[in-house]
Symmetry: C2
Subunit: 167 residues, 2 copies
Amino acid sequence: MTADVSLAPGDPGSGAEGTRWLDAGEQQAWRAWLYSAQLLLDRLDRELTHATGISHAYYEILVALSETEGRMMRMSELADRCLSSRSRLSHAVSRLEERGWVRRQVCPDDGRGQLAVLTDDGFAALEAAAPVHVASVRTHLFDQLSPEQVAAMRDLGETLLRHLGPR
Amino acid sequence: MTADVSLAPGDPGSGAEGTRWLDAGEQQAWRAWLYSAQLLLDRLDRELTHATGISHAYYEILVALSETEGRMMRMSELADRCLSSRSRLSHAVSRLEERGWVRRQVCPDDGRGQLAVLTDDGFAALEAAAPVHVASVRTHLFDQLSPEQVAAMRDLGETLLRHLGPR
DNA sequence: GCGGAATAGATGAGTCTTCAACTACGCTCG
DNA sequence: CGAGCGTAGTTGAAGACTCATCTATTCCGC
């Protein structure tokens, strides 16, 4: 009777036939996953932002840069690692540049390319933020789960990643 | 050597002592979860938006309204169900009002309150969108998982929800 | 029933994301 | 070489989210 995600099969008015609606169990699994994912991402982002002034999106950029030789990376590679669009990354790097945490540098191998380079200030900001972030992840994720659940989480994530592609 | 999420213990320059960094297994579990969650949410939102013009955030509002008696709900209750801030919901409902899918109505019991009411056009839009969304969820989630993984997903979600609270 | 605190919601400025151009460079092939 | 095409990245406008602030109403205690 409701136009739910799970509009019951034969729900009056649901014109589209051939849709395999979610059964009650799938519905509950999906809802639980969705809500917990949204709440967890939101919580981690908020705690990090309020404690350090660095959003999770920016944090990921800094982390990715810090992990490379020379603390620099091509813009598009950085975008891929951060699951970000090129445009978004470009805007974000501009903001990080204003903070003095990253600078741009023309790529030697390819005149079209730009390298994003993590500055010392940027590295310092990351070092200050990392403990806060790890503490949040522990508190809200690992401390809540048994080792079996952690294993299941990893398995689930890797399974979905194979489909959604690192691409 | 890198200022990773998992700055190794004793990493030179990582001044903050007392942080329990993530070990390699935790790191992989966390990364797999994070990436898969981001990719999945992004994919579902994109497919829904491109096929129907309704973002996942708007879709959730419409679904919540459609599930109630009279297809109406107090703004704050709606915000809670959609894991949305009040401000965000208020802005979103304004947009949905412009589309003619929702209207506002003063709450009879409480002069401060507003009821968001799903219109017939809104319900029709939801009915058109629901099959698209369910198909995406099937394709990118349930079709990728064994029954055991679905059960694990539900368990994980519910465990985290107990901590993150429906509150 | 009145004054103050609390609640419901709206609003505007600032920030972030998206999308569709747009610039600039490299690559290929005639 | 140089025309055309593909790739790298930037930009600006429009939509969406956050935060602080503001108004209106209710609730509470006297």
